[in-house]
């Protein structure tokens, strides 16, 4: 199937990208988005892609000095902070802002569940009440909307200055005099977007996805490797032994092959309990059968090749025959077949994890991510869209690349 060379190129490029993402993993995702893999922000669960929620863990500021006047309640031109004996920064001056945010976030998260996600948001009166009649704050927070209904996203963004923490002050305090003055102030803390939204616990889906890619690819590769080793050993032994041994060995493969194998895997997993290792073993236990058949057929056909016969006639021993003739000639086709086991293993892992029989929480795989979102397809389709697209691409790229190599 070497019809379209560009497909092969595209498949390799896609694979390179997915492997890079898997190697980068959730930690790299945290570096980019600022959200940890298990970090939960339950105020806004099921947030859509692009939602800006939490000020970044690493302090970054928007450079707008306007927030200084809003936070400097006593108008002395400085925001004081002190370090506790254990080193944690504390700042009574920020307490009103923190209290206001607590009230506001309660209103927001209440409205979020009811109507926030379809853009209607909270009534302006609620925001006013939460901000305790501070006119400067109200004016700043309510810039983006009218009084009837304020969409939540702009509200979260315009009230960022309320989320200035003592830790932020400590980071801004360049001269270390225990206070941030207007010259040191760099603006309100920036929020970082959830690139692919958040899940039911308010975890960042992009970071979870990176975790899932890594897990799926790892299980797929290891299971395929294990299955290849078993299959090659079984098939080659059968082909080289010949006679009754061969027919018994291959008959066994035939019988096992005729079973609903994934259901037997489900049975075994229900007996031993679901875990990543069990899934890996179960998949390897399924996949070796095709490999055994392929290798046997290949070795059989190689054995009857004229150059092998010639080598035997010339007195080539069995060890040398295998090492110098069989292995080099069988290597390429077997590698291509082994590569085709990887997408099959990835699919099976995803299937089992989707049913809850594979990778267990808190670890994620593409299958568990799809299962998590499948119940909320109408409300939050992004939860399924991202892992499903990645799973499809992963399987497609490996299949195409291996097919073309064959």
């Amino acid at each position: 199937m070497t019809r379209l060379p560009p497909t092969r190129l595209a498949a390799y490029a896609g694979l390179a990208l997915l492997f890079a993402l898997a190697i980068a993993g959730p930690r790299a995702g945290t570096m980019v988005t600022g959200y940890g893999a298990d970090e939960q922000h339950t105020t806004f669960p099921f947030a859509p892609p692009g939602f800006r929620d939490v000020p970044a863990a690493d302090p970054a500021f928007d450079g707008d000095p306007a927030a200084f006047a809003l936070l400097d309640g006593d108008r002395d031109g400085r925001l004081a902070w002190v370090a506790d004996p254990d080193g944690t920064p504390r700042s009574p001056e920020l307490a009103p802002a923190a209290a206001a945010w607590r009230g506001l976030s309660l209103d927001l998260s209440g409205a979020w569940g009811a109507q926030g996600r379809d853009g209607r948001g909270v009534p302006g009166a609620l925001v006013r009440a939460a901000l305790g009649g501070n006119d400067a704050w109200i004016a700043t927070v309510l810039t983006a909307c009218d009084d009837d209904a304020c969409p939540i996203e702009p509200l979260v963004e315009s009230s960022r200055f309320l989320r200035m923490t003592p830790a932020h002050l400590a980071a801004l305090d360049a001269n270390g005099d225990g206070a941030v003055d207007a010259g040191e102030f760099r603006g309100a803390p920036r929020t970082s977007p959830h690139l692919l939204g958040t899940d039911d616990l308010g975890r960042d889906t992009a970071v979870r996805l990176l975790d899932g890619i890594r897990m799926s690819l790892a299980v797929g590769l290891v299971a395929a490797l294990a299955a290849s080793i078993i299959g090659i050993a079984w098939g080659a032994t059968a082909a080289l032994a010949g006679g009754a041994v061969e027919s018994v060995m291959m008959r066994l493969v035939d019988v096992i092959y005729g079973l609903p194998f994934l259901f037997i895997v489900i049975l075994v997993i229900s007996l031993v309990g679901p875990s990543t290792l069990n899934v890996l073993l179960a998949i390897a236990g399924v996949q070796w059968l095709t490999m055994a058949r392929t290798v046997r057929a290949l070795v059989k056909s190689l054995r009857s090749a004229p150059y092998i016969e010639a080598a035997e006639v010339m007195g080539c021993g069995p060890v040398r025959l295998v090492a110098t003739h069989l292995v080099p000639n069988a290597r390429r086709p077997i590698l291509a077949w082994a590569a085709l086991l990887v997408p099959a293993a990835i699919k099976e892992e995803a299937f089992l994890s989707f049913l809850g029989l594979g990778v267990q929480a808190p670890r994620a795989s593409l299958g568990t991510l799809i299962a998590d979102g499948a119940g909320r397809l109408a409300e939050s389709p992004w939860l399924v869209a991202a892992p499903a697209a990645v799973l499809f691409l992963l399987v497609l790229c490996i299949t195409v690349a291996a097919d073309e190599a064959r």
């Binding site: 005729g258 229900s270 799809i370 399924v384 097919d403």
Partner: protein
């Protein structure tokens, strides 16, 4: 033909026996089960369940001093604990079983007055007896009771509930796949190398690669949520089966299209097609009849794996589309260690697969004249076994 039928039948029976024995052994060594649940059942209910599962026998023996003594010695006969051996060198008062066994459960505590025919103990039978009874129950199609329902429902009742739905989805999907995959495969083979052929090739590669857990939610979102062509879940009528069947059918159609195209195009380039053309047989007949028949032979070997992929796939679509099929029972049972239920599904599906394999074996000579009596491969010793699928598992073995 007779020999072939007999061989297919014998092979099917041996396979089924092996599966039944395998599941029995798995069940024997399963951790958890009826006796290790967190909530204990009424002893009499539990004993009745054990008896129905073929794991134990109820002992009725009011005269027996040994039995009374056993109960007295260990009033809290615990789950699976060996409280003592009944029978053997007893006082000869035991009515049954006389084969010996381990006490699983005491149904009476010391001090109880029991009626003459009231069961006193549930006794674990010896392995061979348990095996024989389990096989006997299977032969009577008795799959036992489910643990999760606390013995209220039998596995057969659950299967009778779920199987029709799953079968309908699978059958519809198979029809969908055949009607879509084979014509497009022949069409692509007749126009090898054309733009349409390449387009179909790309589409079928995509269809083969897409897992059911991706395609199912995608179609559900597109056709039931975005454009409300279908209802998004549940089962109220035939139209609720179309979307799930389409999910599975599209994937399978991709495989069938590739297989048909490969088989038919190798035939159309071969000497037989050349000879047919030389005899003036119209091309549409060569493609539609001869090439189709040639391409159908490898598909026979593909039949059992295809059925297997439909079965696994239907677990996914039933979960995604909230359909009351077998998946509902299977997944819950697998997570809750309800071994009889899982085993019932595995056994049922094994029978289905084995029957499909046998059918494929029997139909093979109808399509392939070389296998008929007097043909060059009539003994069934086909070199390389061409009917067997030698494609990688990515072509349908996986959901």
């Amino acid at each position: 033909m007779f020999r072939r039928t007999a061989r297919a039948l014998a092979s099917a029976l041996i396979t089924l026996w092996a599966i039944a024995t395998g599941t029995f052994l798995l069940m024997e060594h399963a951790p958890g089960g009826p006796l290790s649940g967190e909530r204990r059942l009424e002893p009499t209910v539990e004993a009745a369940n054990l008896a129905r599962l073929g794991l134990a026998e109820l002992v009725r023996s009011p005269c027996d001093g040994l039995l009374r003594q056993l109960i007295a010695e260990d009033a809290e006969v615990e789950a699976g604990g060996a409280a003592g051996v009944v029978g053997g060198a007893g006082e000869g008062c035991l009515v049954q079983p006389d084969r010996g066994g381990t006490v699983l459960l005491a149904l009476a505590v010391p001090g109880d007055t029991v009626r003459r025919d009231q069961p006193l103990l549930a006794v674990r039978l010896p392995l061979w007896t348990r095996y024989a009874r389990s096989m006997g129950a299977l032969a009577r199609l008795d799959l036992g009771v489910t643990f999760t329902s606390r013995g209220e429902r039998t596995v057969r009742e659950n299967l009778a509930d779920g199987l029709p739905v799953s079968m309908a989805i699978g059958g519809l999907a198979l029809a969908f796949a055949v009607l879509l995959g084979i014509p497009f495969g022949l069409w692509a083979a007749a126009r090898r190398g054309s733009l349409g052929d390449r387009l179909l090739g790309t589409l079928s590669t995509a269809a083969v690669s897409v897992p059911a857990i991706v395609l199912g939610p995608f179609l559900l979102y597109l056709l039931a949520i975005r454009f409300r062509v279908f209802r998004p879940g549940g089962l109220e009528g035939f139209q609720d089966l179309i979307l799930p069947a389409m999910t599975l059918g599209l994937i399978l159609a991709g495989v069938l299209q590739r297989m048909t195209r490969a088989g038919a195009s190798s035939f159309l380039e071969g000497p037989i097609a050349f000879a047919l053309r030389a005899r003036g047989i119209p091309e549409h007949r060569i493609v539609g009849v001869h090439a189709l028949r040639h391409a159908a032979i490898p598909m026979l070997g593909f039949l059992p794996p295809a059925v297997a992929s439909l079965l696994t796939g239907s677990v996914v679509v039933e979960t995604v589309f909230h359909l009351p099929g077998v998946a509902r029972y299977l997944v819950g049972a697998a997570l809750n260690r309800d071994h009889p239920m899982v085993m019932g599904v595995v056994l049922t599906y094994s029978v289905l697969l084995v029957v499909c394999t046998a059918i494929a074996d029997l139909v093979h000579p109808v399509l392939d004249p070389r296998l008929r009596p007097g043909g060059p491969m009539a003994q069934g010793t086909v070199p390389g076994d061409p009917g067997r699928r030698s494609e990688p598992p990515s072509e349908g073995g996986a959901p």
